[in-house]
Symmetry: C2
Subunit: 341 residues, 2 copies
């Protein structure tokens, strides 16, 4: 059973991160076409899972809070940079309950703002030098470079699927894309960098890839499920937005696999159209077919399996460490990931 | 008079950079939607001015060639990253004689490819550690962060002008935008990083801002002039592309200042339209008015003044150094910048 430790720690480390983030989001010129927009997404809130996981991991391994904060801030800035470009690339309408940046200000300014956010992330990583020294700071930078590379490669794979109108994807294709696009920056990188800062050693960092993959994939599946079944008022994106966008979720992939030839053809036609040409009735039909074929239940089962595997890996990684709130936070995450809505 | 030293050194340092660049552009997966496209712009050629200036400055200050090569490679990668996003943001059609990346592959993939190129630049900067050690490598990274920040701010200013359809800009507005958008990454950063690597000290780096500003602004003015008067076969972009794009060049700014109220109104209407709605006859009229009002001659005069100032600053910076090919290369640049076509 999840306790209230996770919300409490997300609030605590989230606040620490938000305060440190202010240093990087100060108003300055050019205001109207750059820095006001740079501060928009970070100020829209977010649950601060990634920076909190980074700080908690560092502390579970014995680091001081202040040694991990800049890395947490950098992660949050890089996350927002991804979101801005991702929204442009997917032509999404809504982010965290408000219109996306390019919808408000056009693609040219939004692309430039995404670049500025990524650069602020780099600056926070360079600032690590003051607390971590140049050698460890460069090491964290190397981790960030790997993380961003994986994300960009995952994004290329997913954009390629849409561009080619890919219709015959396997669960393994989906999971590999999620490993790259979501897990690296959501769970693997925060764990690895936390451990790097906590232990000042990169000996066993690869073990965190398994833990982060299982946890991050369960997280992404739950996110995709919430897109279909979430509470419209509380869910910050468009409901059914993934279907509107033709996103290859596990539910869509399994529907394409299970559908009759006639249904598959209708789906292929739907997916071949531009987003703006898709009709609400068609979106409703896709959703209804997903339910009829049990695609949501199937995805829920896979998510449960992944969360179980994450819990097991967490056990292996953390059981030898002394008890702490941070350690308990990390070990409760696999359960929490599926319970959130 | 320019000698053949500049083309010779551009070829030599360009080749060194191109060879080292191959390490970062190796084919790998995902090929079709990422790394094949990442290699496209860098393989289209380019005169390699920026990496050559970086290497020449480092050597003029006593560095070994191999100490500067990674920084030169990083600069070339970052330059190409800027070009990809810049082409998206300006909706340009042609780059280095071929269709722009987003024209060929769509905006989503192009934005992602720009991100990947910037990340490869970061990797090259991290790789500096092996030859320069972590402390100097972080220092070069700080310079790169400043350079990218200036470029992004300059880009925001220029995009803002177009978005607001700015009609009353001064020469000073133009020069400040060029300082940020062009000079930092074309001339200031290569000089500063070269000097940093050559001297292993950051004492007098700010002196390079003046030299780089005068040289880079003369370079940009000449570039804008070539866009209007260049040889179509040799010029890699669209001829008159700047007018099609409504780019606020010094020629357009001075035309807006000198035009009659009726002409100004017609210009305002032309500039208010979307690029795709502008007509060839209108573009021809803008161009003809620029010539009639002597806007090109005016820009040529300003460019000459800037190049003269760059030569003077170069004298102050480099006269005390021992004679070398590299030193002569740098001191010939102000003349060469205006002579190239």
């Amino acid at each position: 059973m999840p306790t209230d430790l996770i919300p409490a720690l997300l609030r605590e480390y989230g606040d620490v991160t938000r305060v440190a983030l202010c240093d990087y989001l100060r108003p300055r010129a050019p205001h109207r076409h750059l820095y006001n927009l740079v501060a928009d997404y970070p100020r829209r809130g977010g649950r601060m899972l990634r920076p909190s996981l980074c700080i908690a991991t560092a502390r579970a391994f014995g680091a001081k809070l202040e040694d991990a904060v800049r890395s947490a801030v950098a992660l949050e800035l890089l996350h927002n940079a991804f979101l801005v470009h991702d929204d442009v690339e997917d032509d999404s309408d809504v982010r965290r309950g408000r219109p996306t940046l390019h919808t408000l200000h056009g693609v040219p300014l939004a692309v430039n703002v995404g670049d500025a956010l990524a650069l602020l992330g780099l600056r926070a990583l360079i600032d690590n030098q003051a607390t971590l020294g140049p050698r460890l700071a460069v090491h964290v930078l190397q981790e960030a470079e790997r993380m961003a590379r994986e994300s960009i490669e995952g994004q290329a794979v997913e954009l390629g699927w849409r561009r080619d109108n890919a219709l015959s994807l396997s669960d393994a294709d989906y999971l590999e894309m999620v490993l790259k696009k979501t897990c690296w920056y959501t769970t693997i990188y925060p764990s690895r960098v936390g451990a790097l800062i906590g232990t000042r050693s990169d000996r066993d960092l690869d073990k965190f890839i398994r833990f982060g993959f299982f946890l991050g994939a369960a997280f992404q599946l739950q996110d995709d499920l919430l897109n279909l079944q979430g509470d419209r008022a509380r869910y910050g994106k468009e409901l059914d937005g993934d279907i509107w966008e033709g996103k290859r979720t596990l539910m869509l992939i399994s529907l394409l696999r299970d559908a009759t030839p006639a249904e598959r053809e209708r789906l292929a036609g739907f997916l071949a159209r531009e987003r703006r040409e898709r009709q609400p009735a068609e979106v409703g039909w896709v959703r209804e077919r997903m339910e009829a074929y049990g695609c949501l239940d199937y995805a829920r089962q896979v998510a449960h399996g992944l969360a179980g595997a994450a819990a097991h890996e967490g056990e292996l990684l953390y059981s030898a460490l002394p008890d702490s709130r941070d350690k308990r936070f990390i070990r409760e995450l696999p359960t929490w990931v599926l319970a959130r809505n």
